[in-house]
Symmetry: C2
Subunit: 195 residues, 2 copies
Amino acid sequence: MKTFEFWFDFGSTASYLAWTQLPALEAATGAKAVLKPMLLGGVFQATGNQSPANIPAKGKYIFVDFARFANRYGVPLIRNPHFPINTLLFMRGAIALQMKGDARFMDYCRAIFDAIWVDSLNMNDPATAADALSRAGFDAQALVALASEQTTKDALKAATQTAVERGVFGAPTFFVGDQMFWGQDRLDFVKEALR
Amino acid sequence: MKTFEFWFDFGSTASYLAWTQLPALEAATGAKAVLKPMLLGGVFQATGNQSPANIPAKGKYIFVDFARFANRYGVPLIRNPHFPINTLLFMRGAIALQMKGDARFMDYCRAIFDAIWVDSLNMNDPATAADALSRAGFDAQALVALASEQTTKDALKAATQTAVERGVFGAPTFFVGDQMFWGQDRLDFVKEALR
């Protein structure tokens, strides 16, 4: 079966927008998305790239741009007043669930993405995060324990390094074979590459 | 008549790509492009933004991305080995011709864009630039003189400052009224805004 890789970080607005379009992309292409958690902060550090939010004029514009795409996609998107969210623990949780082959990996991703970009929760606050995860049916304490294991930490570090070695400098990034596509606004090119 | 603003710098690959699509955009919308020369280097300096080429991984990718769009648009695009090109004199020439109401303003723009992005000329070299302009039917010496007038220098500085004040941080940037659109990959949104 054809696949494509989707490298993401929950804290990236563009990753959220692209995530909402994965089902449609899979349906249109018959290809399966392989989710690749990485730590965008680590990618920025390794590449010298930075968040558009760091440039005031760009930061001001970029959410207008994201809102236009949300409108086009017909998906909710609220500017989270607690941005940026430190996603280290959440990305570790994602890669840990994925390594375990946990069937609820996608539900976990949805819970985190929605908590940040739809419900505007302050996911920097451990109690708020635990509450959001509990309401989504997850054992928050168990997740934190899992995320804190050395194997998990090493796995996220290795994944992020792999991303950088393959040329990733931002999120989301798609791969169709060796072809790289950066941004939630390149879905049509990903689609073409999969045909 | 409806209009939209197109803020550009000849040295920006994305500006070139968008420039090639202006006639189609005008035809599709019935709106007229108002060309707005600015100095992208000045915009970067004022906003703290920088060329994607400054981030090695991004610089490596971005031309692949531009080539994909060139292919989609069906227009030639060659990676100029002399990039970056110092466009100060060319942008001054553009704004000077425009201020004079010179009927050959668009021909001048085409000559410079093509010299850089189609013919891969080293436009950093004054003799090469003069030759390219001469072949396009321009009096290179007269243009340099015009570009070097204080009024011209001031006009480009003022235009660049206006761009920054309106929120511009990169090129190309479109305005439809007060709505700003950054990038050659936002043509469809510009089109929608004009309808």
